[in-house]
Each structure stands twice: as C-alpha cells, then as structure tokens.
Symmetry: C2
Subunit: 356 residues, 2 copies
DNA sequence: GAAAATTAGGAAACCGGTTGCCTTGAGAAC
DNA sequence: GTTCTCAAGGCAACCGGTTTCCTAATTTTC
C-alpha cells in the first residue's frame, strides 16, 4: 500500500480545515456549507457541488468534538477488561470491534488489571467522555458485582456476567459445552470417562465438571473417580494422568477442562505407552489453536465462540443505545470441534466441525 | 468491590450535570463556576468551596467534547494494529496503555486486520476525531510503508517500523537477541550449534539467523549445517529435528527462532533419546511463557520486552505531542531468560534472569 | 404589472465549557 | 467626603459545527 498523501493538509493550511474554511472557499456562509455537506436545507445543486469540491480540496473532515457537542452522541463506546487483556479478551474484542465498527463507532480500550481503583477511574473517564455505552469483559466467566448502578449509559457484560440479573450479560454456555463433550465421547462408545480440570474454586472448572457429571448420570454412568481439580496447566495435566494411571480403575476417555490440561494429558499418556485416541479418547476445552493443533494428536475441543460472543455483546449494546435494551443473561452455545484425539476414521490434519 | 452508586445521577437530573447546573446550584455565573473548579481567576475561598460542593453534589464531570473544542486537544491517541490483535500486540498495548494512562490519555483501538482499506478508514476516523497522536503496531518487525505522509499528528511505529527513516519507530534488537543466545551457548562450552527457524522470507527469521551466523563466525565457528528455515510451528520443530538427527554432522545445541519451534525440537529430541540440556542445549525466542514454561524442560529464551517497548513508544509519542519529536529507529535491547534447557546447575522450576 | 408563492441562502442561537475584559462595591488613602 | 485601588465575580466571545428562523430574490398567478 503506497503511503497516501492525506488530504488533511492538501489545502496547505497549517491546521485541519474547519467548515469556515470550506465556506469561505466556496463563497457561502457557514450554515449553508453545513447544509450543503449534509444534504439538508434547500440549495441549488450547483451550490452543493461547489461546497463539496471546496471541502474535498481542503480535505475537510468535521471535528467530532463539535458534532458530539450538539448531538450529545459520541459514537464511541468503552471496553473495560476487568482483569487483563489476554487470550480470552482478544477474540471478544475483535468480535465487538467488528460489530461496532460496522456501526461506525470507535472503541476506547481500558485495561483495569484486576484493580478496582483503576476500574473506577476508567469508568469515570469513560463517563466524562460521554461514551454511548460500555462493554465489560473479563478472563473469568464468574459473575461479578455490577460496575456501577444507575449509570447514564447502557452496559453489556461479555463473557463475564453481572450479579444483578437486570443487567445485560452475554456468556458462553459452558455447561452445554461440557455436555457436548461428554455426548461425543459416549457416541464413540466410551464409557469409562475421567475428568481433569482447573481449580475447584474456579467458576468455569466447577460448572464444566458438574455438567459433565450430570450428563453421565443421565446416561446411567459415573465419572471414573472424582473430577481431578488442579490448575490450568500442562504440568497439572501430566501429573493428573499419573494419578489416573496409578489408580485401580481403568479409563478409555478423558474430558479435560482446558486444552492446556488436555495436552499435558496427551503427553503423559504417550509417555506411558497409551495410544490416543485408540486406548484413550481426549477432549479439551477452549479450542485454543496453538494448543489444540500442536498437540499430538491434534485435540478435539469445545469452542466457546468468543468472537461471536463479542459480536453479540456489541449488537446488544447498540440495540440498548438505540433504546431497545435486552436485560438478562444471554447464553450463547459452544461448538464441538472434532480432531484426531477422538477420531477413529478422520485423516490426519483434517478438521471437521460438528453441525449444530 | 461494592457496586458504587455513581454520582452521575446523584443530583437526580435525568442527564449528566453541566457546569450551568453547578453554577445555578452554587448561585454564581457559569464563568465563575469554571474558574472556581479550575483554580483560576480571583475568587473568595468560600465561593470556591460552594461551587466545589455543588459540583460534588451533582456529580459534575466536565464534558470532554467541550474541553476538546476549545483546547484543541483530545487527550486521546489511536492505536492501529496493522495486522491483528494477537500475542505480540497485547504486551505492546498493555505497555503503551500504561504510559498513556499515566498521562491521562485514552486509547482508541483499531484492528486493521491486514486490510489496507480498513487501515485507511481507521486512519481517517482517528484524524477526524482529532487524536493527539497515533501508535502503529504490527505482528511482524519488518519495515512497512508509512501509514500516511505529512499527517497533522505525530505517529510512532512500535515493533513494526516505517520504511521512512524520518519516522519514529521503536523496534526490538532481534539481532542483538540472537547474539545473546549464541553467546550464551558458547559460554556453556557448546561449539556445534544448529539453527531452526521460521520462513526464510520472514524478516525476523532472516535477521535472527544471519546475526547468529555472524556471531559464530566471529568466534571462528560455523553453524551446523545451514539454518533450517520452515514455519513458526512445533510441527516444524519436530520435523527439523528429524533432519538434524538424520544428517551426518553431530550437534550439541540448537538455537531456535521461536519458542514454539524450540518446543517441537525438545519433544523430538526426547523422543529420540537425546537429553536436554545434557546432550543438546536449547534456546528459544520470544519468551512466550505458555510455551517456555510448559516445555520439558522449561526453555531458556530471548525476551523482546514488548511491554517495555510499548511504554517506550508511548513515551516517545507523548514527547512528540509535546513538541519534542525523536525521529528515527529506536532499537531496544532483548533480554536472555535462563531456564533449564540450557542449565547445567539450575534447580528445576527456578528462573534466573541475566543481568544486562 | 402587482400580489402571492416559492426558493436560495444568510444570520444567529445553541451545544458546554474557558478566558479575557469589564463592572461593581468595599476599604484605603488623602 | 471624595477619589483611588483592588478584590470578586459577571458578561460575552470563542471553539466548530448544526439547525431554526428569517430575508431577499425570483417565479408564478391573475
């Protein structure tokens, strides 16, 4: 892409052109120039053309601050990540930005880094900038206290949710995802399924584990042993595999709370001479490509569709801004992504996606 | 953190309070209210107090658009990622936001997604919003065409750099990082060093490889074989290891162009019965904790200090905004992070950082 | 040809702040 | 008692647009 000589200084003023400059060049009044450029008022077509070409020549772009001042709208939203910008926030942000950009809105990025003071500082900054709305995200799906009450602008919680049920939250259906994982393993004929996941006090770990247990119970089955709660790391996956191998009970599948854990499990199983998926089928969670694809074999995983979630959140926010709020928890489904770690007849390298 | 009843509606107007509301409540004129709140003019202390408490009561926060309109400054900068928000952008953004936030500036996030049209759209959006400055980042360090010429606001390129040497760019010293890696391996007594890295046409791969070769040459040594160019994946690391093992030449160290590659190499070496670091020492690049820590053994790696780079970029931008531009390429050093993949006597789990 | 209708475009208020200048009033100086 | 001085605070212009209202000129109508 060639560096484009921007029009900003095409007219060679030392500053951005204002509508007065345009009006002067076109030989009309400021009000007329405004009407000409916005298709308002009743003007001769020739006048409009003259104004437009003057605007082009000067590279005129209306000062957003002035527009804001008399419309009251900023066409700007704030996005606050309560913890840290990270692996989960990125697709959320990308998706949100996608929808918002289509609505010609810009996004203020605020990284609160788990600091309530910082969060409130950002909140007041955003409010003083008169953003049209706010999206709150976080790394954990657990519900959190509302960022403020009776705020003058709509707020949508994405991924994370608000403890106040009247707030609008968009969250992934983690329980549904876990059920899909279990159903898939059951459909493969596996009956002796173990579960290795993150810390017990972590909301996602708890939700996914209990959904898995319930689904098995509904099929008249028990989990092999209790869910193994630990940390969200490969090391824990390896360690937990040692525990499973050392126990009396046999197992033919492991559903893992994250792809990292699953990868640790895969490595440890291979080291122990168990074949995946032949001896043990493996399902991860997150569908984090870096992990899922590099794993040997590539991992079947649950995708929370975070980008879509971000888009949904943005759409709900835009709706709320336009006076049509949709309060409540909006649950969006997860998707099962099939790869070789549960595949009996899938060729290496191919990726099939379950039809939902 | 308890949901705070924000002051925005404390005074129970249906809209954010304006300075007129404050003035009315305090029984003074608008101008006086402004002076009272900003410590200007000559007013009785009692009057100032009265105005301040009126402002508090109403939860007054000045409308940023109005401030912008008569100061000409927006206290806002744009951050354009030319490709995609990803692993490399995050620490950059975090660092930049850190410095900018300290300067009370807000950040507009723009994800151009490798689309020149989108990029120019964002650029013109930012300019019409009259941002005080722009930071351009990207996933690759390769120089790119300037985003625009003669822009009315300062621009700083971070990580990525501009082909125009008069532009201000902040880039990591990748060659220096590669030299540190080689020096470290030499200091360990390794003499038969191989290099596995990403695509030959990829700027980072080329720079790191040639710096490594040069450093070895300076020590009177050759690389074992030619640099193995491939892709930035674990799979390539494994594959390349196969090539190395199949070749006639022995090797006692591998310097890898990324942590992902290094991890693939580690896995393949282990599978082939070679011990790391005893038989083969291993150095990665990027110091991506997810990879470097989960690797067996944990990886020594080169850290580009992206967060610091982001801070530097932001600081340079702030300086430029304040009329002290610092044109040119600013190279910031990389850091060697020691872990077990090159450690002879480091205990498992510990991380030592080289003193620079 | 004069009155009415229509059209083109200008003047000014307004959005919400800041700031320079001016007015008012009180106390000091004589 | 009169003038001078200075502190305190009001008035209004300004930033850059939009919009309402009004005027002037042209065209239509009879």
């Amino acid at each position: 892409m060639p560096p484009r000589k921007t029009k900003e200084n095409a007219g060679s003023l030392g500053r951005p052109a204002t509508i007065s400059d345009v009006a002067r060049l076109a030989g009309v009044s400021v009000g007329t120039a405004s009407k000409a450029l916005n298709g308002r008022g009743s003007l001769r077509e020739e006048t409009r053309r003259r104004v437009r070409s003057a605007a082009d020549e000067l590279g005129f772009q209306p000062n957003t601050a002035a527009l804001t001042l008399n419309s009251g709208r900023t066409y700007t939203v704030g996005m606050i990540t309560t913890d840290t910008i990270g692996r989960f926030s990125i697709p959320l942000m990308t998706g949100a930005e996608d929808s918002l950009g289509a609505g010609r809105m810009s996004v203020f990025l605020c990284d609160a880094r788990d600091d309530p003071i910082r969060e409130q500082y950002y909140l007041s900054t955003l409010l003083s900038r008169r953003v049209d709305g706010i999206i709150v995200t976080g790394r954990r799906t657990q519900a959190r206290a509302p960022i403020g009450v009776d705020l003058p602008v709509p707020v949508v919680y994405a991924f994370i949710s608000s403890t106040d049920p009247r707030d609008c939250s968009v969250v992934p259906d983690e329980a549904g995802g876990a059920r899909k994982a279990v159903d898939h393993l059951l459909a493969l004929g596996r009956r002796r399924i173990a579960h290795v996941t993150g810390p017990e006090h972590h909301h996602s770990a708890a939700v996914r584990a209990s959904a898995a247990v319930q689904r098995l119970a509904a099929a008249g089955l028990d989990l092999v042993g209790a869910p193994l709660f630990g940390e969200w790391s490969e090391a824990w996956g390896r360690q937990a595999t040692g525990i499973l191998l050392g126990a009396a009970e046999e197992f033919d599948a492991v559903f893992c709370g994250s792809d990292q854990i699953a990868r640790g499990v895969a490595d440890a199983l291979r080291a122990a001479g168990r074949r995946v998926p032949d001896d043990v089928a493996l399902v991860g969670f997150d569908n984090w490509d870096v992990m899922a694809l590099a794993c040997q074999p590539p991992l079947t995983s649950i995708d929370m569709e975070l980008e879509g979630l971000g888009r949904t959140a943005a759409d709900l926010l835009l709706a709320a801004i336009n006076g049509e709020p949709a309060p409540g928890r909006h649950v969006s489904p997860c998707r099962l992504v099939l790869r070789e770690s549960t595949a009996v007849s899938v060729r290496p390298g191919s990726t099939r996606v379950e039809q939902v």
